[in-house]
């Protein structure tokens, strides 16, 4: 029996009508449905073709993937004309190990790593998985390449306007290429 169910059982047994009310449960759920914005729609369509795309700022040259439709640094809008195809190889710039707390809705039980990547040739992705690497071995500087989901399973159902490049239905994660680590001092200010 979970703690919550034990609490329920206690409440059911001992209802004192004269006791003051000291608290109440109110479970709420809100549903939101948002269309993909056009630039993220194009990003999702490209993923289905095993392609990664981004927008390159025409002023400063920074690459945004997924595209946002603007460069927030230069405050200029970007369009289809600024779209570029990105490589699917890169360098781990940073990582976070998440140790799951078993709150309501948490499905993971074991610690896992989420990594930030800088792609060769430009573009950064965050919240990426490294499914075949033990958590303790993930480190900045690792050279990695993409693991696409198999054709029959690939989907972009989990992509939203707020995915920040997380695309688990299409990108299963990243695997080490086996090459020597990149000199991380050159990349340590590129990820977060």
């Amino acid at each position: 029996m979970t703690d919550a169910k034990q609490d329920d059982a206690k409440q059911d047994e001992a209802v004192d009508p004269n006791a003051p009310v000291v608290g109440m449960d109110y479970f709420m759920q809100l549903e939101y449905q948002e269309q993909l914005c056009p630039v993220v729609r194009e990003f999702a369509d490209a993923l289905m073709e095993k392609r990664l795309i981004g927008h390159k700022c025409p002023r400063c040259g920074l690459v945004y993937t997924p595209p946002r439709g603007y460069c927030p640094i230069c405050t200029v809008q970007t369009t289809k004309a600024d779209e570029i195809e990105l490589t699917t190889r890169g360098i781990v710039t940073n990582y976070t190990v998440v140790t799951p707390v078993q709150y309501y809705g948490q499905e993971a039980t074991e610690p896992f790593a989420k990594v930030s990547l800088q792609l060769d040739g430009g573009g950064n992705l965050s919240l990426q998985d490294m499914p075949n690497v033990p958590v303790g071995q993930v480190h900045p500087g690792m050279r990695v390449e993409v693991i696409w989901a198999p054709d029959a399973e690939r989907n972009v159902d989990d992509i939203t306007n707020r995915s920040w490049g997380s695309a688990e239905g299409a990108i299963r994660g990243w695997k080490p290429t086996g090459e020597p680590d990149a000199p991380i001092d050159e990349y340590s200010d590129k990820g977060f």
Binding site: M24, Y26, L30, Y32, Q33, Q35, G69, Y70, P72, T75
Partner: protein, 351 residues
């Protein structure tokens, strides 16, 4: 005495029932246009304040993403209110009183289309007695409309006339969402949505944004031939629990209007956040606006209701009446909470 602050630039997005653009994406051109119209360099702006609601967006810290439309690198001085952009304007007005900076950017934005307003809004109510009831804005407004009808303060026909006039005035407004040449008699034949409110008494569900640039006196004169001066501004709040209020009155509107100086001279035009038809008449009474005042020439909130921007849009529309249509003295009003619980009133004047 407060220092004079002027509106020197403003811009709005259209009001959409549903846009597929993200909030930063549709804010982007609005903020750029307001800054361009003000004629100020983006990097010169001394303070930025935004109004938005994460519950509407359905994401914690959604307001941080909106800063991407501002240009926040290198770092800027900015703030955010979880309120309509009109309150962001109030914060910026206070900030400009310090006198150490001369310009401020204010914006409000909201995307109501992804969620269900009737489920989201009860969560802003008292969590013990009102949220579990699902007390949503339409139901609460219906109670207020019923109180006013029972007191003989308004008729359903007057409500339909207000709605019909709003839709007609909105025909020339490129940002409006609900426009049309409707006959009050035919509107009255429509069924109730929540009695005594019909569809025309309700605001539309809207996505949209508004931005305003403020400047101190010397800067405003340097930037603009037609600065719009904020001569008075005040906001007041009534008790939260609607059962403890006389819903036929809005004392906070009355007090804010008095403190802003609405009655000190003739008012030419008023832009009021009357999000339900009957509220327009109540607001006019509490502010002392007579039949000679042109009320909501833009069509008001019944024509376009981008929540979190709709109050700031009243400032933009009132300023437009002065800067572009030669009006002398305007009132801008914004509201928050249920049944006109909290109200902000400002008096704007040309030179």
């Amino acid at each position: 005495m407060a220092n004079d602050i002027a509106i020197v630039g403003y811009a709005q997005s259209p009001s959409w029932r549903e846009t597929d653009l993200t909030e930063p994406q549709f804010l982007f051109p609005v903020i750029s246009e307001a800054i361009e119209r003000a004629g100020v360099e983006r990097r010169e702006i001394g303070f930025t304040c935004a109004g938005s609601c994460d519950y509407l967006s359905g994401q914690t810290f959604a307001f941080v993403m909106n800063l991407e439309a501002v240009g926040a690198w290198p770092p800027i001085s900015e703030s955010h209110v979880e309120m309509d952009g009109a309150w962001a304007l109030y914060e910026a007005w206070v900030r400009l009183q310090h006198g150490d900076i001369d310009t401020a950017l204010v914006f409000g934005s909201g995307k109501s289309s992804p969620g269900r307003p009737s489920e989201i809004y009860p969560l802003q109510m008292d969590p013990y007695t009102l949220t579990p009831l699902g007390a949503d804005p339409v139901s609460l407004a219906a109670l207020q409309a019923r109180a006013l009808l029972d007191a003989g303060r308004i008729t359903e026909r007057e409500m339909a006339e207000i709605a019909a006039r709003s839709r007609k005035r909105a025909i020339g407004n490129p940002y409006a969402q609900v426009t049309g040449d409707d006959d009050p008699d035919s509107l009255l034949k429509e069924p109730y949505v929540t009695a005594p409110l019909r569809r025309h008494d309700l605001p539309p569900i809207s996505d949209g944004a508004c931005a305003v640039v403020l400047a101190t006196a010397d800067k405003a004169k340097a930037l603009s031939n037609r600065p719009v001066w904020i001569r008075g501004i005040d906001h007041r709040i009534d008790i939260h629990q609607p059962g403890m209020r006389d819903l036929t009155e809005s004392p906070s509107t009355r007090l804010a209007g008095k403190n802003a100086g609405v009655r000190n001279a003739k008012v030419d035009v008023a832009e009021l956040s009357a999000t339900f038809s009957y509220q327009e008449k109540l607001l006019c009474e509490e502010l002392g606006l007579g039949d000679d005042v042109d009320v909501n020439p833009s069509g008001g909130a019944l024509a376009a209701n981008p929540v979190m921007a709709v109050g700031l849009a009243r400032f933009a529309e009132a300023a437009r009446q002065i800067a572009e249509h030669g009006k002398g003295r305007a009132v801008a009003h914004a509201t928050s909470g249920q049944c006109l619980q909290q109200n902000l009133v400002a008096v704007l004047e040309g030179d």
